[in-house]
């Protein structure tokens, strides 16, 4: 075994992000042996970094710079530095801690602590949708694979529910007692309105679309509030920890509640996730080309997954294969 060659290969594997855990430990050990090793490593990494070819889009960058400066002055858009939502138990653990922390803060701020009302949980399985009527008359339509938690009675007019998944809300107006929807990533505070919240833990985004009335979205340490008006959507990119507010076809965002699924330029992986939930199927795919595709189109709820896949086959460069019970593989097939 040639030790020098081994190290060279190890360094390259690290640089190209193909390092196994054993590799990483070995590399760390080698680095800790001498300053000379560190020098070799960081200098090699330096050449590696320097030889990355980037398109020269400085002109766009300059425009972007001016744009962001202008926005910063209006303070209408800010870069949101939420805690990084990393997939995995560690992150869930952190989020859990943070929410416990926030809950504690809330209870400290409330002078007379009430006895908590009994909580109800309403869970909709994959492949179906359901409607819930809350004690104050508010209607909630829950999409596939979603869970809503709410108190049996709203004590002292306090209207708070929590949602994991997607739901359309039609909230009964009560100026004195705002209605609050809690999600893992933000809270939505409203008086009387119609809006759609989409917040599944396995999506890399979370959003609120407003059809009527007025809502405020609270996030971070619940000290930041973003107000949106009808026709707008608050969109949170969980991975990049950024949010934006933009004009959207909000009717389309909530079209699922009428048994119709309409999309405009949705990323293929997101489309697959939605179909999985709606039809309670598993769809697998591996072609990198698919991940880049955007899809626009309509489905009707009464169509079967077979019909939907056949439809996709006609309009996009894919084919499909049944792998087993409710399991399909999507194959990239250039037209």
């Amino acid at each position: 075994m040639n030790h020098k060659t081994d190290i060279e290969q190890l360094v390259i594997r690290y640089l190209n992000g193909e390092c196994s855990i054993t590799d990483q430990q070995e590399l760390k050990h080698w680095l800790s042996q001498s300053d000379e090793n560190q020098k070799i490593f960081y200098r090699t990494k330096d050449v590696w970094d320097a030889s990355l070819k980037k398109e020269d889009n400085t002109r766009e960058a300059l425009l972007q710079f001016y744009k962001q400066r202008a926005l910063q002055k209006q303070t209408s858009t800010k870069v949101l530095r939420l805690w990084k939502v990393v997939a995995g138990i560690a992150a869930v653990f952190v989020i859990g801690l943070v929410s416990i922390f926030i809950l504690n803060m809330l209870s400290v701020e409330t002078p007379n602590v009430r006895s908590e009302a009994a909580m109800m949980s309403f869970k909709v399985p994959f492949g179906s949708r359901s409607e819930v009527n809350l004690p104050d008359g508010t209607t909630v339509i829950l999409n596939s694979g979603s869970e809503l938690k709410y108190p049996v009675t709203f004590v002292d007019g306090k209207r708070e529910v929590s949602l994991n998944g997607e739901a359309f809300f039609e909230v009964i107006s009560d100026e004195a007692n705002p209605f609050i929807v809690k999600t893992n990533y933000f809270d939505v505070q409203v008086t009387g309105t119609q809006f759609n919240v989409c917040s599944y833990t396995d999506d890399n985004f979370s959003n609120v679309s407003l059809l009527e009335g007025h809502v405020g979205v609270l996030f971070g340490q619940k000290d930041k509030v973003v107000d949106i008006v009808p026709g707008q959507q608050f969109y949170l990119d969980k991975e990049k920890r950024r949010y934006r507010v933009s004009e959207r076809d909000v009717d389309m965002e909530s079209s699922w509640k009428d048994g119709e699924f309409r999309f405009k330029e949705i990323a293929f992986p997101d489309l697959m996730k939605r179909l999985e939930r709606w039809y309670d199927v598993r769809l697998s795919y591996s072609a990198p080309e698919l991940k880049e595709m955007l899809y626009s189109g309509n489905f009707r709820n009464h169509e079967t997954i077979w019909q939907v896949l056949d439809g996709l086959k006609l309009t996009t460069p894919i084919d499909y294969k049944r792998l087993g019970f409710r399991k399909f593989e999507i194959i990239y097939k250039p037209m």
Binding site: Q9, I12, Q24, R43, V47, S51
Partner: protein
């Protein structure tokens, strides 16, 4: 704001690539750059003399990345300690006076240096760094063993470094026909 724009255009891409040394996510690096150039604008740093300005820019980007990583590592205490550790060492390495090739050399010169390498080195760097292929994909494409790809890539990087830091730089400059100022 002609001077500001000139400076922005001259350094933005290099600073972006420099920031990517320490932070993987390009959008996050762009955020760091936004802050750096905002300070340049507001505090009229563009009035600095050229060499000072250059090291000011690179230092600011590095510090910006450091703050970012510190912030992130507090948040991700449980998740990615190991990875950030290596990055912090690297930042210290540059803080202690080591200058990156990206700071020293014009990007165009780096690309022409790659171009000047022997063909089997040049090919492998281009596939990896320009086309973004993984080592395994390169091995399949060139029909050579994976270990050979890794070794050859390492050698190619060492060769490139020699070209860019050694005397060979002068030969290279003549080769690519850079105008020599007297």
């Amino acid at each position: 704001m002609a001077i500001f724009e000139q400076i922005f255009q001259k350094y933005y891409r290099s600073l972006l690539i420099y920031g990517l040394k320490f932070i993987k996510d390009e959008d996050d690096v762009r955020d760091v750059l936004q802050e750096v150039f905002t300070t340049v604008w507001e505090n009229q740093k563009y009035k600095l003399e050229e060499t000072h300005l250059k090291s000011y820019l690179f230092n600011s980007v590095r510090n910006g990345c450091l703050n970012y990583i510190r912030h992130q590592s507090v948040i991700n205490k449980h998740a990615e300690n190991e990875k950030w550790g290596l990055q912090l060492y690297e930042l210290n390495f540059y803080k202690s006076g080591e200058t990156s090739l990206i700071e020293k050399e014009d990007l165009g010169k780096i690309y022409s240096a790659i171009d000047s390498l022997p063909v089997h080195y040049k090919e492998i760097i281009e596939l990896s760094r320009f086309e973004g292929l993984k080592n395994k994909e390169i091995s399949e494409k060139l029909k050579i063993p994976l270990r050979t790809v890794e070794t050859r890539l390492f050698r190619a990087l060492s060769g490139l470094r020699k070209v860019l830091t050694g005397n060979q730089i002068f030969i290279l400059m003549n080769l690519v026909g850079e105008p020599v100022r007297r």
